[in-house]
């Protein structure tokens, strides 16, 4: 995937992604991170206006984590995602128009209106589903990796999950099985510090989720989840190891969600100062933008161009969703079984 890289001539001290990816790929990553951010802002706006029902879990602030992990993945590789999964979906290659359509419950949505925010996934780009159950996707990812191994494919599987999932039994069962069978799976914990309102300090016996890896005899890697290059580098290593048949890796990507857990969160468990600090000093998009400019990969006009393109893309996507048809009630039971009963 890395042809002409951005900073080859400037030396080996550059951060990983500038050595590994072309400027075009790096600009594309910024584009996607903006797409994730604006998609969620658009969804939030539609929600607060009462245009969509249910609830949603926004990953605003975690864009580098989703994007960095997906950078080394091919279209054939697979992921399992979470209730906070819009970013994973976009990073893996989904179209925002079909995602908005799903948000609006339309037939043109990825799940034909049956899934909604919590289940948006584009199977054609390797997303095996966003999951409403904490820890639900972990064993499924192990199963997908078992398929990859049994069919001798090159495919790897990434399982995204949050810090809350590390205390679910499924997490431990899944890591153990992946390790004993040396399966090509990468466990990515996006640790945003809180499982709903409960901080990892209050919920988790170890200091870092990655510390759990030693119990299952696999590497445990901690990265700054708001630093795209760091995340991508860890992912790159884990993918390499998985494709080589050496088994799973646990990556802990430490990050932060700017918004509450869901739309009914009153933010009683975090201070304004804490949120403010992450938003103003550690915003992953801002950090990446600055870095890109610093290394001359993009200039201010280029950034404005990306923002404008994304704005248009989001506006078109919302329009597509609004004008798409709703499902027929008569088809309510469609897709329960492969062959209708």
């Amino acid at each position: 995937m890395a042809q002409a890289t951005a900073g080859k001539e400037t030396g080996a001290n550059l951060p990983f992604i500038y050595r590994e990816y072309s400027p075009e790929q790096l600009r594309q990553a910024l584009h996607k991170m903006y797409l994730i951010r604006r998609f969620e802002e658009g969804a939030e706006d539609s929600y607060t206006r009462g245009l969509i029902h249910g609830t949603m879990h926004l990953s605003i602030g975690q864009e580098a984590s989703a994007m960095g992990i997906c950078m080394p993945l091919t279209l054939d590789d697979q992921i399992t995602s979470t209730h906070r999964g819009h970013g994973h979906c976009i990073a893996k290659g989904a179209e925002v128009a079909k995602m908005f359509a799903e948000f609006f419950g339309k037939t043109t949505g990825y799940c034909r209106g049956r899934g909604g925010s919590m289940h948006i996934a584009d199977v054609t780009t390797g997303n095996l589903g966003a999951n409403g159950i904490v820890g639900g996707g972990l064993p499924i990812a192990v199963g997908a990796a078992l398929t990859a191994k049994r069919t001798k494919s090159e495919r790897v599987v990434v399982s995204f999950f949050g810090d809350g999932a590390n205390n679910e039994g499924a997490f431990h069962e899944a890591l153990n099985m992946a390790s004993i069978w040396k399966l090509p799976v990468i466990f990515v914990c996006e640790n945003n510090g809180y499982g709903m309102s409960t901080s990892t300090a209050r919920s988790t016996a170890v200091a870092n989720i990655a510390d759990r890896a030693s119990a299952y005899a696999m590497p445990g890697v901690i990265v700054d989840g708001n630093n795209l290059s760091e995340v991508a580098e860890a992912s790159h290593e884990a993918v390499k190891r998985a494709r080589a048949g050496e088994g799973p890796t646990l990556i802990e990507s430490k990050t932060y969600r700017h918004r509450g857990h869901s739309k009914s969160d009153r933010n009683r468990y975090r201070t304004k100062e804490e949120i403010e600090d992450w938003m103003t000093n550690r915003d992953p998009i801002m950090l990446y933008e600055t870095q890109l400019q610093e290394f001359g990969v993009i200039d201010q006009a280029g950034i404005e161009g990306i923002r404008e393109a994304v704005r248009q893309e989001i506006a078109d996507a919302i329009e597509f969703a609004k004008t798409s048809p709703s499902p027929e009630i008569a088809n309510l039971e469609r897709y329960v079984y492969t062959e209708p009963l």
């Binding site: 996934a121 589903g129 639900g136 199963g143 398929t147 049994r150 899944a174 062959e339």
Partner: protein
Amino acid sequence: MDQPVRELSYAQAIQEAMAIAMEQDERVFLMGEDIGVYGGAFQVTGDLVERFGADRVIDTPISELGGAGVAVGAAVTGLRPIFEFQFSDFATLAMEQIVNQAAKMRYMLGGAVSVPVVMRFPAGSGTGAAAQHSQSLEAWLGHVPGLKVIQPATPHDAKGMLLAAVADPDPVMIFEHKLLYKMKGPVPEGYYTVPIGKAEIRRQGRDLTIVATSIMVHKALDAAETLEAEGIDVEVVDLRTIRPMDTQTVIDSVKKTSRLLCVYEGVKTLGVGAEVSAAIAESDAFDFLDAPIVRLGGAETPIPYNPELEKATVPQVPDIIKAARDLVSGRR
């Protein structure tokens, strides 16, 4: 039947079905606790590991939730896993993956995937294994759209329905009564399937329809023999599948006999019999009823250890005879 027919036990019939499925289709493999060299808790997988290797007869750790999830993940990505639980009671540990994932993935993704997983659950009482190893939880899973739930009652059906389950694109849960494993019956050689979702009339009769599942089919047939000597002519319907349920066969039978007795081992309240009864009450068979519908199900208690108590917990042949007599003689 074209194929030669031999006498096989229920367990042997299942093992043969799994062997055929694996021979025919490279994607099929087995997963479960101690199903390899140990041969499975009830020796159903037997020596299949020697024929197909540890790659296709996979011993899992004691991880029902994780194991079930791995099977789901393998199924959704193109394999055809058959996952064995040691006891159906352990479904409770894996309910998340069965109910939230396997059953709903296709729907949540708007039809973009199928989950062709087969799960096998040794179920039922009568082995002295007490409260946590004797339950009949099929109605739990029967309540979940997206799953198919079957209860083959004979070696013939155990093989044919398992092969149908492996061929089915959706998750199929098989409840196998442990007391049936040693029961012998005619089983054709080679590949054949018995359709999921189709009940079977095991005995024709005029006076009373008994709808039974799993081992209760045999108890109902024993009772019918006694009742015949008393001049009571019983029709026995083997439901075979509880989701999707073949209510039409039951409706047709009740329209003929005007009386319905449901016999099942799961706890009576909110069980399979409730659904069968409701199906009749809601159907045009209602106008043919000449007596109240009666259910014989498991007692409202965990399964006890003491053998006499254990027997008293689930319907036995004399209970069926008595209920049938009362129904036909107008005492109910």
